[in-house]
């Protein structure tokens, strides 16, 4: 990959490692990443992912990991990655409760995405990478200029580490170097071009806990780096290390008491990252907001003023902090799903050069809240379903200070780990997606699924990124069905099993004649769901039989009802007729769908149908239409 070309198109070519035990999500994120022109590698197991990372250090820019995984807790993976490879890790989860998100932060996640992840969110992940690089540089080199230290850092590193990110970071930074340096805070004081002489301090969990307990002892308002250093009594730690860490810590606390704003792109502010386990979160999702409530505007304004006015003095008074914290806790009781409160973060000094771009848009709290618009209702329901439980939980946890939480973190990790270890593995090995060295997407499949007969394009998505091309994703033809197996990944679970599990769907136009009979039966059952609510459906014992024909008498009855459609030699499910659809709708309306706490109006939909009553030309072709009348009675 030519670095120049890559830098010009950053974040194209971002090397992403995605870890998720859920194959569906994995595939979707993979495709989204491909769309974003990232170089993506997927993995279903955390252990495999870790091995991958270890063996190929410097080959990835960012890690996306699910929280709940059978073999290893996502948080553990997060810790390992942070400690060993120091890569930015982004967590993903369907769990949007505040406590879960907070746990992510505590463990050092750069961001926490709520499933379902959307493409826009994926497009933003590059910022975490860039930010981390910049922060790392600053840690390294308190006295050097940023640009020079960057160059030197990259030069010192492994020669293979030609990340597009580094170049891009330079490219982006260079024009603004002058202006940014003027506003840099005390950390960058001189223009000394020499490389950093200080070894980087990794704020490990233990070290950070010592730090936290020291701060606790002193009291947050009285905690000065010198005294903290004394209390911690760690050899080799300098006052500057402690100072910068303290700065980040205060910001972190501030951030936690605020609420994030969920916007795409620009408004996704860049808080300063805490290098240690307390990673920064770019933003909270609106679902977290829904549970978290909102911060009263005056505290938010105070936060803004603070950040804007006095960037150099990051000493926020304890009173403010406690107010914020308590406000946020109490705010939990008033959850306003639509509230978008701006996250009081945007203007950390270190990143003023980027912050400048964003600051005008972020300052206006009110404006941004109006920009929320409609939130996908599905997400809302998910987020809102358990507001009470999360409130209680957090309320109990959080008296005042988060320090207590931090001390509990290890014990909690332990419990979680034990819990997860007790699970039985859900997936058999054959489900794992092959780990590819350089984001070659797992292409092969064992049997045909939905194959349009006429499409010459391969059914399998075979995206292979050429090793040296950035944006090259070429669709391999069907010949490549067997080709990928060459790239077995060492040290990992390398079952060469396709992504497409060969689920024998009723591909009516497919050539597999063995499915022929079953197809037709399957066609006929397509509305069985519309029948009266079946008490016990499809135990699904037989995986080969997609509709579980072997089980359930009721099922058979329904099948037989529709058998009139069978054997007409039609591919189109002819029961797709207005009448039947109506009946199916009305059946559903009678069903008590009491799951939705937000009270979606799914229960009454008999008259919504847009389906015209006009007899459909296509339907007329199929003589089985007559049968439909029978069923509507």
């Amino acid at each position: 990959m030519a670095p120049c070309a890559a830098a010009a198109e950053f974040p194209v070519g971002l090397r992403v490692l995605v870890v998720d035990d859920d194959a569906t999500t994995l595939k979707i994120i993979e495709q989204m990443s491909i769309r974003c022109r990232y170089r993506v590698t997927t993995c279903t197991e955390a252990t495999v992912a870790l091995n991958l990372l270890r063996e190929r250090k410097g080959c990835f820019d960012v890690v996306l990991s699910d929280v709940h995984m059978p073999d290893m807790d996502g948080y553990k993976l997060l810790e390992h990655v942070g400690l060993e490879m120091d890569l930015p890790v982004i967590m993903m989860s369907g769990d949007s409760t505040t406590s879960a998100v907070m746990k992510g932060i505590r463990h050092g996640a750069c961001d926490y995405l709520i499933k379902p992840v959307r493409e826009e969110e994926l497009r933003n992940i590059w910022q975490h990478v860039v930010r981390k690089f910049w922060n790392d540089n600053k840690e390294l080199d308190n006295s050097g200029s940023m640009e020079d230290s960057d160059r030197n850092k990259w030069g010192n590193d492994d020669a293979e580490y030609t990340s597009s990110v580094a170049d891009a970071a330079e490219v982006v930074k260079a024009p603004k170097k002058r202006s940014s340096l003027k506003e840099e805070d005390i950390e960058l004081e001189s223009d000394d071009p020499a490389t950093s002489k200080k070894p980087r301090v990794v704020w490990s969990v233990e070290l950070h806990q010592q730090f936290v307990s020291a701060v606790n002892q002193l009291g947050l308002d009285k905690a000065v780096p010198k005294r903290i250093l004394e209390l911690m009594n760690v050899p080799g730690l300098t006052r500057e290390n402690v100072a910068s860490h303290l700065q980040k810590f205060r910001l972190y606390l501030k951030r936690l008491s605020g609420v994030a704003q969920q916007q795409n792109g620009m408004l996704n502010a860049i808080p300063g990252t805490i290098e240690s386990k307390l990673g920064a979160t770019g933003r909270f999702d609106i679902q977290a907001l829904a549970a978290a409530g909102h911060v009263p505007p005056e505290t938010l304004a105070a936060l803004h003023a603070e950040l804007l006015g006095h960037p150099a003095t990051h000493m926020m008074s304890t009173v403010d902090q406690t107010t914020l914290l308590q406000a946020s806790i109490q705010g939990l009781k008033h959850s306003h799903a639509e509230h978008a409160v701006a996250y009081g973060q945007p203007l950390v000094k270190c990143h003023s050069n980027i912050g400048k771009n964003f600051s005008p848009s972020i300052l206006t709290v009110n404006d941004t809240s109006s920009g929320y618009g409609t939130w996908p209702s599905s997400n809302n329901t998910i987020g809102l379903v358990r507001p009470n439980s999360s409130v209680e939980r957090v309320g109990i946890q959080n008296n005042n200070m988060l320090m207590d939480i931090l001390e509990h973190q290890q014990s909690q990790q332990h419990q979680q780990k034990q819990q997860l270890q007790q699970q039985s593995l859900i997936h058999d090995q054959s489900c794992s997606i092959n780990v590819q060295p350089s984001c070659m997407v797992v292409p092969s499949q064992s049997s045909d699924t939905f194959q349009a007969v006429n499409s010459p394009a391969s059914v399998n998505q075979d995206f292979s990124f050429a090793r040296n091309a950035i944006i090259d994703y070429s669709l391999l033809s069907q010949k490549s069905k067997n080709s990928f197996s060459a790239s077995q990944f060492p040290g990992g679970d390398t079952k060469a099993r396709g992504v497409l599990y060969g689920y024998s769907t009723p591909s009516t136009c497919s050539t597999s004649s063995s499915n022929g009979n079953r197809q037709q039966l399957q066609n006929s059952t397509l509305t069985f769901g519309a029948a009266r609510p079946l008490p016990s459906l499809l135990p699904m014992s037989d995986r080969k039989d997609p509709y579980g024909f072997k089980s359930g008498d009721l099922l058979d009855q329904v099948c037989f009802r529709n058998l009139g459609f069978v054997g007409k030699g039609t591919c189109i499910p002819s029961r797709f007729v207005e009448n039947e659809i109506e009946s199916s709708v009305s059946d559903f309306s009678q069903m008590k769908v009491n799951v939705d706490s937000s009270g979606n109006t799914r229960n009454q939909e008999p008259n919504f149908i847009n389906i015209p009553k006009v007899s459909h030309p296509i339907i007329e072709r199929y003589p089985s239409r007559d049968h439909s009348r029978v069923f509507t009675e």
Partner: protein, 151 residues
């Protein structure tokens, strides 16, 4: 004549989609999936959905087994995954049932879990049927569109 059929099929498909959206069976995430499909990956949606079906059926089987053994915690874990994948493809109703199901497992409410499991299976089957319909129309459309006499 064949072109005419293709248009009608297109209308069919849209109608079905509108129906499903309106019913809340699918939500906008499904649209995202469709947008991810392009010439480079022409069958993306059906592939993802196939994966989803495959995984889901395993999960459902497991869930039923676990319910018999009253393993609520494990059920919760399975449900997390089910929720994640269902929401990823935009299966809104299924996701909602999962949420309620998980609440029941949190309370170790066996009757509630049983009800929820049945409802989940029901919703899942309905979704599956409808999606199969959709794909069949899609295939038919491709077939019809492909067999076109040169003008």
């Amino acid at each position: 004549m064949l072109g005419f059929g293709a248009d009608l099929l297109w209308a069919d498909m849209n109608r079905l989609l509108a129906f499903l959206f309106h019913q809340g069976v699918l939500d906008e995430q499904f649209l995202q999936l469709q947008q991810l499909q392009d010439e480079a990956s022409p069958n993306f949606v059906s592939e993802v959905v196939n994966i989803y079906f495959h995984e889901s059926e395993k999960l459902l089987t497991n869930l039923r087994g676990l319910l018999m053994e009253r393993e609520y915690k494990k059920m919760g874990i399975h449900l997390n995954q089910f929720m994640g994948s269902s929401s990823s493809i935009g299966a809104k109703r299924v996701t909602n049932v999962c949420v309620a199901f998980r609440a029941a497992t949190d309370q170790s409410n066996r009757a509630g879990c049983l009800r929820a499991l049945e409802m989940l299976e029901h919703e899942y089957c309905y979704l599956k049927n409808k999606l199969h319909e959709l794909f069949q129309i899609e295939q038919q459309r491709a077939l019809v569109a492909g067999v076109r006499y040169p003008v």
